[in-house]
């Protein structure tokens, strides 16, 4: 099987992942959220006292914080949250061997192509189904080098000191309403540690699947990349399409220690009934290099702004974002770079495509604190509108306190140029083919940074999405 077909299962095609699996969860909390639910989750995980307290405190913060009035339309989210299942435990324990995963769950992931992908191109795979990681494995070669790649629960259980030192330090519960919610009910996600000087040259991957109706998924990932280490992590997400809304709110915390390099890739392809409100942030230390590659294609509403806090001298942060909003979707995405140390540099490149009644919004922050001498930041946003019902917005915040800073921001909005179309069509391409080619060219600067298989898939998806868009 050619490699691109292998990866076809990773959630990038036209939405064919809307199927539902008949399963038998071992525990399903009643819908709604209160202290009892939080205690249940904590009890199911046999957590230490401090974590339960952390959760309960976060629940209070969540309840106290008002619903954001900016960004996407959250006016009906309240109802969704009231009816939501906050915790569904699909099986008794996490499996290390694929064969031990319950058949119906295994079938689901096999349909999505996960095990094959692991054998071919990945260093390790985690698969989350509803609220828990059902499978986690790391190739021996990396295990021997001291790489840790566990479910977040096992991270807490097996490496309590390392875990506690960093957990909640990058994204504290009071950061925002949904970070507080995640802190109260988190379940699933990965715990990753890359030891000093180790380079993991093929990606680690986590795959997130929501199956139940009115499900809330709250994965929590903590990644520590030690000095001089180098690694890459990919996450993908899909869910069935229901008529009711589902909810996903992850918190990703990353610590990139001096001179380390890390890349975090998200290919988000949730079904179009999903609210996707995620907080992703990296602390980047001296001379380290962090890169977020954020592809948002699915969901009903995504609000997600991966951040780099550049806290060490010479740190570099990069955010590359592609958003594709088709009918009824709102992709409210972007990135934040905070320069809090000298000689730090950052770059944000955002490309968005709005089709039909889709709306894509770039929202970003570039903040340079006084004392971040010679900080440099550059932001480029390009938006492409495919129909006269499509909409795009650009809301950058540029806050500069340092004289020696150099900051640039540029954004453009356009439709597919008639001249470009004419040129291609005069070469014998149909209007559809020509449009797809122009769109591919438009996202090329970011797509080329994806691992090859993803890039191929992304292009294929764009082509599928473009079908019938002309006329």
């Amino acid at each position: 099987m050619p490699e691109n077909e292998t990866i076809a299962g990773l959630g990038l095609e036209e939405y064919k992942y809307g199927f539902v699996t008949e399963d038998k969860p071992v525990f399903k909390a009643r819908p709604g959220l209160d202290e009892e639910i939080v205690r249940q989750i904590s009890a199911h995980k046999n957590e230490p006292e401090w974590m339960l307290n952390f959760r309960l405190k976060a629940l209070k913060i969540f309840e106290a914080k008002p619903m954001p009035t900016w960004g996407g339309d959250l006016s009906r989210l309240g109802e969704t949250l009231d009816e939501l299942y906050y915790y569904i435990k699909p099986q008794e324990r996490l499996e290390r061997s694929w064969d031990d995963v319950p058949q119906e769950i295994k079938d689901t992931f096999e349909k999505l192509g996960i095990p094959e992908a692991e054998r071919k191109v990945l260093a390790g795979v985690g698969a989350q189904y509803e609220s828990e990681m059902v499978y986690h494995s790391l190739k021996k070669e990396w295990e021997e080098k001291g790489v840790i790649f566990e479910s977040i629960e096992d991270g807490l259980r097996l490496y309590p000191d390392l875990f506690r030192e960093y957990f909640g330090t990058v994204v504290p519960p009071q950061d925002n309403k949904f970070a507080a919610l995640n802190s109260a009910v988190w379940s699933g996600g990965s715990f990753v540690y890359i030891p000093k000087g180790v380079t993991v040259d093929i990606p680690l991957q986590a795959y997130f699947r929501v199956n139940a109706e009115r499900m809330g998924q709250f994965e929590r990932t903590l990644i520590i990349v030690d000095e001089g280490a180098n690694a890459q992590y990919i996450e993908g997400c899909t869910a069935p399409s229901y008529s009711t809304d589902s909810f996903h709110s992850g918190v990703i915390e990353i610590i990139v220690k001096p001179n380390a390099r890390f890349r975090y890739v998200t290919i988000q392809n949730w079904s179009h009934n999903m609210y996707n409100l995620v907080t992703q942030r990296a602390l980047v230390h001296d001379g380290a290099h962090m890169e977020w590659l954020d592809g948002n294609l699915g969901s009903k509403l995504t609000m997600k702004y991966p951040s780099c806090y550049l806290v060490g001298k010479g740190a570099h942060g990069e955010i590359l974002s592609i958003a594709y909003a088709s009918d009824g979707q709102h992709q409210d995405t972007g990135g934040k770079v905070v320069h809090a140390a000298p000689e730090t540099t950052s770059r944000i490149i955002s490309k968005s495509i709005s089709k039909g009644t889709g709306r894509s919004t770039y929202r970003g922050l570039c903040k340079i604190y006084e004392g971040a001498d010679n900080a440099k930041s550059n932001v480029e946003c390009d938006a492409l509108l495919l129909n006269d019902t499509s909409r795009t917005d650009t809301f950058p915040y540029i806050e500069i306190e340092e004289q020696s800073a150099s900051v640039g921001h540029e954004a453009t909005v356009s439709k597919i140029g008639e001249e470009q179309l004419f040129y291609l069509m005069s070469r014998g391409l149909s209007e559809e083919e020509a449009s797809a080619m122009i769109v591919r060219g438009f996202i090329e600067p970011i797509a080329k940074l994806l691992p090859l298989e993803y890039a191929v898939e992304l292009n294929r998806l764009i082509e599928l999405e473009m079908e019938g868009s002309v006329g």
């Binding site: 900016w70 509108l385 006269d388 915040y397 356009s414």
Partner: protein, 438 residues
Amino acid sequence: MADVLTAVEGAAAYTKEAVQKRSANEPQWLKSRRAEAWRAWEELPLPTTELEEWRYTEVSRLSWDQVELADPAKNTASADAATGILAGREASARVVQAGASIISIELDEALAKKGVLLLDMSKAADEYGELIEKYLGTQAVPANHSKFSALNGALWTAGIFLYVPRGVRIDAPIRVARYIDQPGLAYMPRTLIVAEDASSFGFVEEMVSPDMEGTTFVNGVVEIIAATSANVQYVAMQQWGKGVKHLSTQRTVAARDANLDSLIVNLGADVARVDLAASLEGPGSRSDMLGLYFAKGNQHFDHNTRQDHRVPHAQSDLLYKGALDDAAHAVFRGIIKVFPKAQRTDAYQTNRNLLLSKDANSTSLPNLEIEADDVRCSHAATVGQLDEEELFYIMSRGIPRNIAERLVVFGFFGEVLERLPMPGVVEELREAIGRKLV
């Protein structure tokens, strides 16, 4: 909400009685227009930093409730100083405000014959009632436009009304000097400009005061309405002295094929807040929106601009450039809004900031909201310091560093000034910037 009410109650200077006193000798239509604005003032909440548009400026910094309302009968200012501002300025007409009232209006005889009106709006409200009633607070800045424009709508004095009839072209600019020298007061100047079809002229408004002990609040409103194919250049040059808190609400409305340009210059005052909205309401209309600011000491400038495209085939192009020294802070927030039907819009927005000192801060928020697909829109914002290479180049010609820095700052502002088609005014601006550059 409780805070808002207390704050408004604290503003003892602004009362319904004061509004009635203002309009005692005015015709009924104007009485009711002021009353309507007063109601809007009472109903609208005081802006807070919770609002995006006021995020970086605490409204209390304007000291709007720390002053008495200026009284045109009592609060005068030096007429010599006021008149002196326009001495030697090339002009086709001159209006001088001293204190809270207009003290003189000169209009070229030939222009008056062509039907050009340049009037003290309160005094002319009877004789030209029908004309002024049609435009004052109706199309550009209606009573409920914003909290402080409503306050102006209720309590304005020193109102200037310019009416240029169809096809009249005026070569030399119309010049206005607004001068105050008594602190502790709230001044509410208002400007209304109506350009009929295919008329063409420039209008330059200068705001000057000495440095003052004690706080002064200036809450102005400017309305500019350009009919089909009119061509209007509006310049506001704000050079208030220390102690002044400046708030100005401005809106320009351009009809089909009209050209309505503005240049907003902020050099003076402790705090200056400008809300400028350009409405492109006719196909083929165009607005060039220029801004220039230079802040030193603890000056705080906040520019809030809008480019509203409601119709197809209109253009707007904004360029705001600012230099910030000492502990100054400048905020630029601009929105290009393209409504669903406004196809073939060309809208651009650029904000560039030069930081001249360690403690200066710059905040830039260039926003786009685009709901039509066949558009060309872009924005750009930069923040940076003086380019060492440029300085080195100049210094290598034997010029000392401090002069070289001045030259680079002049060069930085040059891009804005060269787009202003009024050579005399450009020269005056260069001088004003030069005075500040010492």
